[in-house]
């Protein structure tokens, strides 16, 4: 196998860690959903998720010697949970939060997370508590929101070099859906466009599957990995009628990242602050 290329991490503004952008974007989406789309985002629920995630992370920084800048990652995880996960009970949210953050430290292979933290927290809470749910329709299909989400997501992913993952996922899913919905079933294109204009779907594609700590290191491995998620999500949504199929597909495929990394070796991603302190 050819020696893998070093992954190109754009660094036009190298002084700013990309996670700051992600925190601002996700925080803005949460405010947008709460105040414009009138979600039931109750302040106590948000505070419980943010608080639990940060306290858990702090415990691991102190006890587990985690990197100090990792508080940003836990804040991103917490915002992801606030955006995607709903529950009646505050304990369920706290449970999902602890599970998410803990997973980063307990489920590791060769220095990488075995699961996407927010994804594992959501799936774990869904399966164990029976008290949580995901509302895939909560974003609707407003073109403005989609544009904002897509544009901001693209800027972020360009900076961390994961735009390829999102594009591979979106293209693969679009091709599969086009073949079934339009070519086979015979629905008109607006049905397909409506499926793809779901805010939840776009948020997932740009902000969840692209976590550099859970995606394969090699660019080609990432593309294949993203296509696998798209194929599995398509099968689950089409034949098993699972409306939150991408979330489940990510949960099932993410552990395979370790296998992809073994097959296609490449430079390990590190956040800017980690790189500054621990040069590769």
């Amino acid at each position: 196998m050819e020696a893998p290329k070093q992954s190109t991490i754009p660094s036009r503004i190298p002084v700013i860690d990309a996670r700051y952008f992600q925190i601002i974007y996700l925080g803005s989406f949460l405010l947008l959903g709460t105040f414009i789309l009138n979600w039931d985002t109750l302040l106590p629920k948000v505070m419980v998720v943010l608080g639990t995630c940060m306290v858990t992370q702090l415990a691991f920084i102190k006890v587990g010697k985690a990197h100090e800048s990792s508080w940003m990652s836990s804040l991103i995880t917490a915002l992801g949970l606030c955006l995607l996960f709903r529950a009646n009970d505050l304990n369920t949210l706290a449970f999902a939060s602890v599970l998410s953050i803990s997973s980063k430290f307990f489920f590791r292979i060769r220095g990488k997370h075995l699961f996407n933290p927010a994804n594992l927290g959501i799936i774990g809470a869904l399966l164990i508590t029976q008290d949580g749910w995901i509302s895939p329709g909560q974003w609707g299909s407003s073109v403005i929101f989609l544009f904002i989400m897509g544009a901001l997501g693209s800027i972020l992913l360009f900076r961390v070099g994961r735009l390829d993952t999102t594009m591979a996922f979106l293209i693969a899913f679009f091709v599969l859906e086009y073949c079934r919905t339009v070519l086979y079933l015979g629905w008109s294109m607006d049905v397909l466009i409506h499926k793809f204009s779901s805010g939840s779907f776009i948020l997932f594609a740009f902000f969840m599957i692209t976590d550099p700590k859970t995606t394969p290191d090699h660019p080609w491995a990432r593309k294949i990995w993203a296509v696998s998620i798209a194929v599995l999500a398509f099968i689950m949504s089409t034949w098993a009628y699972i409306h939150t199929a991408p979330i489940w597909a990510l949960f099932l495929i993410t552990p395979l990242t370790a296998v992809f990394d073994l097959l296609w070796k490449s430079e390990r991603f590190r956040w800017l602050k980690e790189r500054n302190l621990n040069p590769i």
């Binding site: 789309l37 009138n38 039931d40 709903r86 529950a87 009646n88 029976q130 008290d131 949580g132 749910w133 509302s135 895939p136 329709g137 909560q138 974003w139 609707g140 299909s141 407003s142 086979y184 079933l185 015979g186 629905w187 008109s188 607006d190 049905v191 466009i193 409506h194 499926k195 779901s198 098993a240 009628y241 409306h243």
Partner: protein, 478 residues
Amino acid sequence: MKKVSVITAIMLFCIGAHAFCGFYVAKADATLFNTKSQIILVRDGERSVITMSNDFKGDVKDFAMVIPVPVVLGRNDIRVVNPALFSMLDSYSAPRMVEYWDTEPCLRYMECDDMIDVRSMSMVPIMAREESVSRKDKQYHVTVEARYDVEEYDVLILSAKESGGLKQWLIHNGYKIPEGAEEVLDPYIKNGLKFFVVKVDLEEMKARNTEYMRPLQIEFNSGKFMLPIRLGMANADGDQDMIVYAFTRQGRVECTNYRTVKLPTDRNIPAFVKEKGQFGPFYKDLFTKAYDREGRNSVFLEYAWNVTPNFGMKCDPCVGPPPMYQEFVDAGANWIDPNNPNNSPIFFTRLHVRYNRDEFPQDLFFQVTPNMEHFQGRYVVTNAATGDMSCSGGQEYLKELEMRRKNEVDELAALTGWKSPRYASYIYQYSAGIHEPKRNEGLPFIPWSTGGTVAGIMALALGFVVRRRKKALQLENA
């Protein structure tokens, strides 16, 4: 001011005929127009029970209906139910107006005698039609999977291989297919759906001596939890309204491919809205404004409550007796056991969707969530106290009342877009009773504002003179 008593009233749109998930096919040129339908949706695991109340208006012999279903239904999966079930659920869960009375501010002793009066308007379902069929027609690639006589209905379950054949079969057998139905039939056929074709057994109707057709209920097991609204658009003209009464064990039902949003609720509105016939138009306009504001592609939550028979309070206030065991069982919630009320959880969700072809290209897909949060559409009218207002408390009350009524009129405009110069008379209806002191009693004929200014200037001048005098005395002493 505190409430004295409560009166509630519910409203309903009184819109004529409608279609539901299927489409009506008229054999003769009956006038068909679809505006509103009501569906009861029970979901328990993969079991779905769908009850359809259709308000077909026309000659019963012209009635026919086609509904896509995921499986071939057995005879025991098809029933008719009492139409009163719909009116019961409708009147119980509809958005409500609550009426309060202010206490008399100048009366020391006030008896608070709470009472509830409920008014409701209900919808009367009507439907119709007839026809004959052959077992299998190879020419059209249509198979009659089953044929049942269900009370006043003749039911066929069809499967087809392509939409053109199904369309031709229906036309050949005397059904009039609406324009645009074919493009929708094709995806359903390829998706493996069957077609539940219903017409009226005229003999049975004669025997029953009525033209009212009862709602049909179907039951099946399928992973698909959806309503195929696209087929209903085939013979619909413009927007259609659909009310979904959903029952589950766990919690709320929500739409997964469109936003499910709450209607504005708990708003204070002017007392004149309670006048005869006003609440209906008020809610209709409120809904239309909310529908526009949310982008015309959302599903609205009108009511959500744990209605488990032994749960306790099921609304605040209730506008009718809550549905009990028999109603839930009739709706299809077969897990309800009157002998075991603690093990009969049931959650009621009422959704209202206004859909059309452009804004709702996809069918409606739903999911059951554990969300147990209660919600009801509730609009509050507060009647003013009308007794003696001469005391200081009464005067204060009248000023507050004027301000409150301004807010109510603003709220009304925000909710419905209703604006009128006539509303000023409502705001200032009792303002004449405010006896504001217009003159300075200490300085007759000088208004308070002018008097205050003059007094201030005089005080300053006096202070200045005193100070000058003091300084002069100090100089003299020095």
